[in-house]
């Protein structure tokens, strides 16, 4: 079976800036073929020079991206995305202003052909305190924040960022980044491009919004220590992926996004390769390097057989 299609959920209450973020993502896709499912693409405003064709429910972009309407039925849209040939590299769903992003994410966890690429929740710094206090809608807004793997604070130019961060902190310990006009790099939202291979060094450290770390070498690890790394990664680490060689033979493919991580047995690659990113300044690549060296140096663990893993295993993380 081909690699599962990663699904990123973009959530946030009305007016939080979801459309701006998706506009920016489509304009700066970096060669990725992204399929975006939106509620209403009347608001998207795709530049004419980027638009290849427009049908009632589908916009095709000249950069390989596609934008479709959700059409009121998430699962029908998901089935369409999975059946689409060629299948896109990434799927992004713009949740409605009151959607429960965790429920959309559940679909990605349940469907073997999908992989959860994280829940990103946008928060409007100017009105988040009011919204959270609203007796009708406050609960759902809080839930969107609580479900988020990554929080994106918008409109900090016209609002008190510190107060907004404090309001968020009451509901989430996930990393918070500030973005203007939806300018969040695709690398952070979707992961670094390429199927497990290391990106060009020039590509890394490109954005001032995030920092990255990578490793390539012939070292082997034990399942137990590697698993510990996924369970308790250094703070600010948002994404990690790659393949690691196991002591005693075999290899694991690892994916970590926000609060979710999974490991799957895989054929032995030539070497262990890992790449990680996280928002600045929360993520410190030096800290990850220290932890990684510890993983490599640690011995004495009984080599665990990957045969004990029959298929994708979700690693539970400590909050």
């Amino acid at each position: 079976m081909s690699q599962p299609l990663p699904l990123t959920v973009v959530s946030g209450y009305l007016g939080a800036g979801k459309t701006s973020l998706i506009n920016h993502l489509l304009r700066h896709a970096g060669g990725r073929r992204i399929m975006v499912l939106v509620n209403d693409f009347g608001a998207l405003n795709i530049d004419a020079d980027l638009l290849e064709s427009a049908e009632e429910d589908t916009l095709t972009l000249s950069n390989g991206c596609v934008c479709c309407t959700l059409g009121g039925d998430l699962f029908y849209a998901l089935a369409n995305a999975l059946d689409r040939r060629p299948r896109p590299d990434y799927l992004v769903i713009e949740a409605s202003g009151v959607a429960q992003p965790a429920k959309i994410a559940m679909a990605a966890q349940a469907e073997p052909e999908l992989a959860l690429g994280g829940i990103v929740t946008l928060v409007d710094a100017a009105n988040i305190a009011t919204l959270l206090a609203d007796p009708l809608i406050g609960g759902q807004v809080a839930e969107q924040i609580e479900s988020a793997d990554l929080l994106i604070l918008t409109k900090t130019d016209i609002a008190d960022e510190t107060a907004a961060r404090a309001a968020i902190a009451e509901h989430s310990a996930s990393p918070v980044v500030v973005a203007r006009h939806g300018a969040v790099p695709a690398d952070l939202l979707l992961g670094l491009p390429g199927g497990g291979s290391l990106p060009e060094p020039a590509h890394l450290h490109h954005y001032e919004l995030y920092a990255s770390w990578s490793y390539a070498g012939r070292d082997r690890v034990t399942l137990a220590t590697f698993r510990q790394l996924l369970e308790r990664p250094p703070s600010g680490l948002y994404r990690l992926k790659g393949r690691v060689l196991l002591r005693g033979g075999g290899a694991l493919e690892a994916h970590l996004v926000g609060r979710q991580a999974s490991i799957t047995p895989c054929p032995e690659p030539e070497e262990t390769r890992l790449v990680a990113i996280g928002p600045k300044p929360l993520f410190d690549p030096g800290a990850l390097e220290t932890v990684w060296r510890h993983v490599l140096d640690k011995d004495g663990d009984a080599p665990a057989s990957p045969a004990s893993l029959s298929r994708r295993l979700v690693v539970s993380r400590l909050a």
Partner: protein
Amino acid sequence: MSETTVYRARKIVTLDPNRPEATHVAVREGRILAVGDADAAEQWGGGRLDERFGDAVLLPGFVEGHAHMMAGAMWRYAYVGYHDRLDPAGALWPGLTEIDAVIAGLKAAEQALPDAETPLVAWGFDPIFLPVERLERRHLDSVSASRPIAVIHSNFHLMTVNSPALELAQYSRDTNVEGVARRPDGEPNGELQEMAAMFPVMRRLSIDFKQLGKHRDTITNYGATARQVGVTTATDLFAMLEQDDLDALIAVTGREDYPLRVVPALNGLMHGPDQVLARIKDLRARSSDRLRLGAVKLMTDGSIQGYTARVKWPGYVNGATNGIWNTAPEQLDRLCEILHAGGIQMHIHTNGDEASEAAIDSLEKATAKHPWRDHRHTLQHGQMIGPAQFQRMAALGLCANLFANHIYYFGDQHAAVTIGEDRALRMDACRAALDAGVPLAIHSDAPVTPMGPLFTAWCAVTRRTFSGRLLGAAQRISVPEALRAITLGAAYTLKLDHEIGSIEAGKRADFAVLGEDPTAVDPEALRDVPVLGTVSGGRVFLS
């Protein structure tokens, strides 16, 4: 001159106060020419006497104001529900009241499948009524251990599947997905809860509700289902109405033998409000007598039994957190304003009282800004609306279509575990609606509960629950009031009361053909009045 047929009946209950009862109705060009006795058509030149309804009682064709086309789709699957149901061909599927009977029914359906690969899909199952033992994969594995099996529960939020179906979805003890229920030993027990967990199985078994909904057989079955219960006009309340849906609807409803007038309401949330305005304009141009397009359905909250309805203080008796908004109140404000200003009638789903209040608030603002008195926006379900909200609705010209069937099917649960005794007594408050002067319809929400307006009327009249309890005597309405709610009342909420809903000169010749007089039987027996067929636009459809 066109042909005139004069039907004689044992009795005609007209719902027209000017002539409440009659024995003869003259029909010309699909419309009612005259009503009265044997001479009714004389001043119009007389007509051919037709005696086939001589032993029957005619009522206006019933109007189902809140149901879904999906009710016609499920019959391609085996029915394994607790209550007896008739399929569109008129065959009785007896209720399966023990888990062994469900398994035996599944085995029979499995034998009937053409080959060894076709998945077995069943529907209508409700574990509430089989409390002794929960249906699990092992039961279904005993039906077949090789063919995938999925049993869809009556609420459409759950399904139970067998081991081959779990394997197809790659569900195992390693699966860590909310909604994949487990046995104590950690293996999935076969029960899948909510769409996210059900989706991988549905996709691999090709169970696609959206495709089913636009299938021509589905539309045909919907007509047959309606005809069996005396319905001549039924809504499809939350329709996608994409181009291929519409083509199928136009083709099937246009057939001379199609017995039903279909009133779809467009899902008003699938596009932005400006797009909805444009869609409705296009749709209206494609309306015909048997396909009435132009209304919109909006959603506010979820369901009470699913604890997703937005309820006011004191909330749910089991302490469940308040429900969810499918549309944010501020978004509802905007939608209501744009659609109301655009002259589009809205049917708004509200179950909890907080959701009803939000809808009333939105409509109050919209109606204050844009004058349009005869909008007839309708709150659908409105299960917790009380006198105070009904008064506001009356002042704003809103209608209520209440979910009377819930009293029977879920009333016991509502009293015991959802909103508690006090508020369960005044759920689906038909009496309060009428007393406040709110135009009233009552409905089945088929396929959630079976379509059957006489049953729905019986629920509103007797307020009997499944356990036999009388739930809220003060909210009962009379038989004539209930009959009005399933005819003229529902027609009013669809803006069709000038054409249907009563048997009077000038209206469409739409009749329910009954074996007994519902105004004469014991009210407790209202649900047992036999339906012999319908007359739709003058065309006779006897079962």
